[in-house]
Amino acid sequence: MPDYSIPVPRYWRRIGEYYRLEASRCLKCGKVYYPPRARCSCGSTSLEKISLLDGNFILREFTVLHSVPVDFEKQKPIIHGIVENVNMNIRLITQISDVLDISKLHKDIPVEPIFRVVKRDGNIGIICYGTKFRPKSIEGV
């Protein structure tokens, strides 16, 4: 999930992980890290970049924020979810979008990654894009 408060240069350096869900996988033990890391817990520094976009995802938990940072006031409420890529056995924290009736949202439903605006920096600043998730089906949302 993009850091809400970071400035342009740091956001730019993380474009791979925000745009393409770029993760790192240890070539020695196979462990996958998101956000990507340079060193595995097994001690190896041989990690390859992989994209998590192609897996199957399940929403494991979610919470709804009604009090949000100032950049997100026009987007509230914001849904934060823990989403699991079941193919790679990795979980990530993300925003859930395209949900109109939150009372009907349930955990353990299939979700899909979607490219979205994360925040607009006022009227003149940069527009930060990134990956969010949305329910695969529209049933109940």
């Binding site: 474009i15 745009y19 605006v117 894009y129």
Partner: protein
């Protein structure tokens, strides 16, 4: 050797508003509105969607459909009139969002609703000349319409993307014909929120003149007649105009209907006729011939003759069709529509 489309993809937002709901808010007669535009409902972009996000989603689907890697793309050409930045391209965001190579040509272009089809011509010429192998062409718009005015009932959001290739072509671009002139039918001045129509110019001297001239010019150039085409797809700001233009050209309504999507999507500007093409490519049989005529205000038209090959069947089923996306809809009222489209402005 044949050159043309090897993959296609699209994206439309899930949110919809009915023209009945818009008429309720602005005190219009909903039946008269529906009779004027023949539009039942239109797509509404979510607060976190814009021309960039839709371009990314449509492009990802086109790449999967073509069966290529993003690294195989040699150029990314975008047509839009609703860039979220006045200066900063969509095409370069696409490079990183798709994971394409950095040594690619990437550019956005503008000619009202026609630019993406101009990019299709440039892509076709560059692969035909052997300069590029695969070019990504993207039509994307989340366009403006002044609340309560004509465009409020039609201006919507959507994107279509095509991979134009020199190999594995499933829809051959046989030829094209362009027709343009300085016609003041529709414009938006720099810094203005909403476009305006040159009322008397919208129909005959603008839309119909350019579309009919381009379509007839192409058919004369190729020695073809309406009966040689199985489908005709024409730019669709509403459902009335393309049906009438097809009738003037001598096409029966049966050849128009499969490419007519404006009644359920609204006017997606650059993606308008090209979403019609997506819908036809989702169903067309090998051996079919398609007449595609785009239109952009200001004004001009591009007409294409497209021939569907045997490879079309194997490209289907890889990503969702436009019809499947059309079923995934959530209705919003005018309040949410105003919020999502950022029509509510603070006075201070």
């Amino acid at each position: 050797m044949s050159f043309g489309i090897s993959g296609w993809g699209c994206y439309i937002p899930r949110y919809r508003i009915t023209t009945r709901e818009i008429a309720r808010v602005w005190g219009d007669d909903p039946l008269r509105i529906r009779d004027l535009y023949l539009i039942e409902e239109k797509t509404v972009e979510n607060y976190d969607e814009d021309a960039v996000t839709m371009a990314v989603e449509a492009s990802r689907r086109a790449i999967v459909r073509a069966g290529i890697s993003p690294k195989d793309i040699d150029a990314i050409l975008v047509g839009t009139e609703s860039k979220p930045y006045a200066v900063k391209p969509i095409a370069s965001i696409l490079i990183d969002a798709l994971g394409a190579r950095y040594n690619v040509q990437a550019v956005d272009s503008e000619f009202a609703c026609k630019a993406a089809s101009d990019m299709m011509i440039l892509a076709y010429l560059s692969v035909r000349e052997g300069k590029y192998s695969n070019v990504l062409v993207v039509a994307t718009d989340a366009s403006q319409g002044e609340p309560g005015e004509h465009l409020d009932y039609s201006a919507s959001a959507g994107a279509a993307a095509f991979i134009i290739s020199r190999n594995d072509v499933c829809a051959v671009i046989e030829d094209f014909y362009s027709y343009c002139s300085d016609t003041p039918d529709f414009w938006r001045r720099d810094g203005c929120l909403f476009p305006v129509h040159g009322e008397g110019f919208t129909g005959e001297p603008a839309y119909f003149r350019h579309i009919i001239s381009a379509a007839r010019g192409l058919m004369e150039k190729m020695g073809l007649k309406p009966s040689d085409f199985d489908y005709v797809i024409i730019h669709q700001p509403n459902a009335r105009f393309p049906v009438r233009a097809a009738s003037i050209l001598g096409f029966p309504i049966e050849k128009v209907k499969p490419g007519l999507v404006v009644d359920r999507i609204g006017n997606t500007y650059n993606a308008s006729a090209l979403l019609g093409l997506v819908n036809v490519l989702d169903i067309a049989k090998p051996g079919s011939r398609i007449l595609l005529v785009t239109y952009g205000s200001g004004a001009g038209s591009n007409a294409f003759s497209i021939y569907v090959t045997d490879k079309i069947e194997e490209r289907r089923g890889r990503v969702e069709t436009l019809q499947e996306m059309l079923k995934m809809k959530i209705y919003v009222d005018y309040s949410l529509y105003s919020r999502f489209r950022k029509l509510i402005k603070m006075l201070q």
